[in-house]
């Protein structure tokens, strides 16, 4: 029997981590994801005690979080549960809803600033067409980032997450790295 070892979205044994000035970009290999959609006539559930957020919003609970992805649709995140069957667990808590496993379809990059909100805002304004005056903590949106469709989540003033398609993880890392490097050199 072959000795099979899991690799991350970027193809390494361990998640990638890099620092550019005040910004740190970390591949979040442990993040489990599942999408949840209401079906006609079902009651909106509160999985893991989360009050599901409205359009453009993200809400965090104990080790889990939810972001609005479309009408009656949400993506549920669970920290450190990528290797477990998170979708099955969510399905139990969302009776009547359509739940789909998403973990292996996405790559998550956590970007944290050690110098407050400034570097994060500078990076976002380089990369995405989002109105930063209206993108405070608790906001999340899907938008284009170098022609890749990504979710951008504002977890706090100095912490954002970018979720992109796992198949273009390398290109997304390149985009983030290049923008962060240019900010560092400026």
């Amino acid at each position: 029997m072959s000795d099979l070892r899991p690799i991350t979205a970027l193809g390494a044994a361990l998640p990638r981590l890099a620092s550019f000035g005040a910004l740190e970009i970390r591949e979040n290999g442990g993040l489990a994801l599942a999408s949840m959609a209401l079906r006609r006539g079902t009651v909106e559930p509160t999985p893991f005690g989360l009050a599901l957020p409205g359009p453009g919003r993200w809400i965090a609970g104990q080790g889990v979080a939810a972001l609005w992805t479309g009408l009656d649709q949400w993506m549920i995140e669970a920290e450190g549960r990528a290797e477990l069957d998170f979708a099955a667990e969510l399905k139990q808590l969302a009776p009547g809803c359509s739940v789909t496993e998403q973990t292996d379809g996405w790559v998550a990059f956590e970007i944290v600033s050690r110098a407050g909100t400034g570097p994060i805002d500078a990076l976002l304004s380089k990369l995405v067409n989002v109105d930063l005056a209206d993108f405070g903590p608790g906001c999340a949106t899907r938008t284009g980032l170098e022609h890749m469709s990504c979710f951008v989540i504002r977890r706090s003033e100095a912490h954002i997450a970018v979720l992109g398609a796992r198949s273009s993880a390398g290109s997304l890392w390149h985009a983030l790295e290049t923008a962060a490097k240019r900010l560092e050199e400026r």
Partner: protein
């Protein structure tokens, strides 16, 4: 060009893909006696006005909703946008 998304506010038109005339929502009934002629018109005939036009846009890099956008094709001014789902639902209610 910015599109006033009814749920998400002003969004860049680059996030959307364009389909065409919003009359595509009015799909003819396939069981009607004149279905063949109606489908021929539905598939091939479009108005192409210079001025105010209602058209379907898809928020691909966004919440994946279909919108009916009212736009002036001469000035590119966006005059309004509504969820295509609501437009379609309102029409089924009227026709019943």
């Amino acid at each position: 060009m910015l599109i006033t998304h009814p749920l998400l506010g002003l969004r860049d038109a680059q996030e959307f893909t364009y389909l065409g005339d919003a009359r595509l929502i009015d799909r003819p009934a396939p069981s009607a006696p004149d279905a063949e002629a109606a489908f021929c018109d539905y598939v091939f005939l479009r108005d192409n006005p210079a001025g105010v036009h209602r058209e379907l846009w898809y928020h691909e890099h966004g919440d994946r909703s279909w919108l009916v956008v009212t736009r002036d094709t001469v000035t590119h001014e966006v005059l309004g946008a509504e969820l295509a789902r609501n437009v379609a639902l309102a029409r089924t209610r009227c026709s019943k």
